[in-house]
């Protein structure tokens, strides 16, 4: 019996991880799946662009959280009614293009003249925070439920699947409105703002989990038929070990991809809630809130252009990155 020489591995028609076949020998040494995904991702210029934009957004959000002023001049909640046309009573910003100027590069809001750029910056962290944390919540609940339903099957599966149906059957917006209206504003010694943020995160996250739950369940259903699960069982592994050590690592890819695609949806959801009067409390800026404010002044489109653009860029970035990630993590996508 001779030990075979170094692997190159071209024997892999049925191999789900076959993407590497035929790669130069040296490049192959000891690379983890993450590294491979990363290598592939790196080649995907568009996805990288998305990732860079996301990174910038996060930087901006952190900066906005730490500094309460942008460019040291403008505060997001500071009024500039001197720049508003009160003379004619239109309450529109004075000057052209919605009051764009050196001091207010993106113009100012009608009525109170707050700086739009500053508000977009200030709004970034809440918008991203709500979107990401809500996503995280959905992912946690959805993954747990989905994995349990898919793995145990039988009545557990039926129960959880029906539960998902219940959640999906709720008119979410209606529900959110009712809930936000009813629940108190202060709790756990948090500031009302944080309470509201928490509440929105909860609502958005809590009602979105079935989507992720379904995906995870489906994946788990097919994964649990894979032989490595039997292999673990034949070694005497218990349920939790199989669930979390064997199955979960294999679910990371679809979850990650879905999560990046869920984030932008959640940003928009927050904006719809703002529009319906149950968003974040004034005067805190959020992109969704700015959009809903802007819709009252839809005759001055510049006012919504910027928050709209911010959301668009975010949505685009997350989608592109998510797509790229999917391609990178899923060898069949090429």
């Amino acid at each position: 019996m001779t030990a075979p020489p170094e692997v190159t591995g071209s024997a892999a028609d049925a191999d789900p991880e076959a993407a590497l076949q035929g790669m130069p020998k040296k490049a192959i040494q000891g690379r983890s799946l993450g590294q491979i995904a990363w290598l592939r991702l790196k080649r995907d210029k568009v996805a990288i662009a998305g990732a860079i934009v996301i990174a910038l957004l996060i930087l901006v959000a952190i900066a906005a959280l730490l500094l309460d002023r942008v460019f040291d001049v403008v505060h997001p909640n500071e009024f500039h009614q001197d720049l508003i046309d009160t003379q004619n009573g239109t309450l529109a910003p004075l000057g052209t293009f919605g009051g764009m100027s050196g001091a207010h590069p993106l113009g100012i809001e009608p009525v109170n003249g707050r700086d739009i750029l500053a508000r977009i910056f200030a709004g970034s962290w809440i918008s991203l925070l709500i979107a990401t944390l809500a996503t995280v919540l959905s992912v946690i609940i959805g993954t747990t439920m989905g994995i349990i339903a898919g793995f145990f099957g039988g009545w557990v599966d039926t129960l959880i699947s029906r539960l998902m149906d219940v959640f999906l059957a709720f008119p979410l917006l209606v529900f959110a409105m009712a809930l936000v209206g009813v629940l108190p504003d202060t709790a756990f010694g948090l500031s009302p703002e944080m309470v509201r943020i928490g509440l929105l995160i909860f609502i958005i996250g809590f009602f979105n989990w079935p989507y992720i739950g379904r995906i995870v369940r489906g994946q788990t259903l097919s994964l649990r038929e894979r032989e490595f699960v039997d292999a673990a069982r034949s070694l005497g592994a218990r349920g939790p070990y199989i669930l979390f050590r064997e199955l979960l690592p294999n679910l990371v890819a679809p979850i990650l991809v879905y999560a990046t695609l869920l984030i932008p949806t959640n940003i928009l959801f927050e904006s719809a809630l703002s529009f319906l009067g149950v968003g974040i409390n004034a005067p805190t800026a959020t992109w969704g809130g700015m959009l809903s404010d802007a819709s009252r002044f839809y005759t001055m489109p510049h006012f919504m252009l910027w928050p709209g653009l911010a959301i668009f860029v975010t949505v685009l970035a997350f989608n592109l990155f998510g797509d790229g990630l999917r391609d990178a993590l899923d060898p069949r996508a090429r």
């Binding site: 075979p4 190159t8 071209s10 024997a11 028609d13 590497l20 790669m23 130069p24 592939r40």
Partner: protein
Amino acid sequence: MTQHEDSLGGATPPRPASSGAPFLQVRELRVHFPTDDGVVKSVDDLSFSVDRGKTLGIVGESGSGKSVTSLSIMGLHKAGTARISGEILLDGQNLVGMAPDRVRQLRGKRMAMIFQDPLSAMHPFYTVGSQIVEAYRIHNKVTKAVARKHAVDLLDRVGIPNPKSRVDDYPHQFSGGMRQRAMIAMALSCDPELLIADEPTTALDVTVQAQILDLIRDLQAEFNSAVIIITHDLGVVAELADDIMVMYAGRAVEYSSAPDIFNSPQHPYTWGLLGSMPRLDRERTERLQPIKGTPPSLINVPEGCPFNPRCAYAGTNGDLSFTLRPEFRDVGGGHHIACHLGAEDRLRIWETEIRPKL
């Protein structure tokens, strides 16, 4: 590749054709796939030919380029993915570089293909009958009723019981063997002159495999078409093929008539294949003789003879095996091999070292 009078690419066909030019002639076929990691040379400089009424068996390890070759002949590589060069002459017409639509018109009519996994190769949403009808009506302007009758006839011919009622079944309602029969019926619907069967029985049980092989043989006799059968089971080709081509790393390493290959194989890789196989027809050996190592990467094909890392005799003629790509040449009687070993060495090794251990 330099032209040799005796090389396959040359004017002389590998096996003197009984009448005129061979029906299918492949010359210096190269199929390369540019990928992110480099160019995959799936098929590199491959030449062979098949006559009407004859069967060519192609064997080789997984990834040696068997399927790529057949897909190239059928023109089924996705546009833009493969770089194909060389010539594929079907009845004298070169398929390489031919307008895609003209190739399409030949597909199904003059050449047809059977795939390995009949379940995934058939559309799950359409009945078996309608898929055969569809194949027939592309090339024959007939009414649906006529085509359906034709489909029933075909199913009958490939041995499906109750074809009249089974024609309306969906593929998943068929058993594996019946699916493969249905695939064959579909391929034969327009009486193709060339039939390519890519691992037609790999997914089947032995008893069913035997049925299918019989069927292919019978049908070929009936239609007198040229058949290429691709497999990695030497037993299967032994049953069917007139000629056998052994492929390794995208190239042909040995080519000869079937008895020749089994009785006096001359390439170390073929030896290896024969040695790895436990055989029912021989005394049980104490130990199998595997080929060491694993198949090579098709991006970095080893220099010299691609088989050299796994070949026990690579060192016998200096470093020739490591530097010079051996030519694929006729070593007499239409027996082609690509090996640097001298004729006597080959004979000696076969007779003394290999044969006794089989």
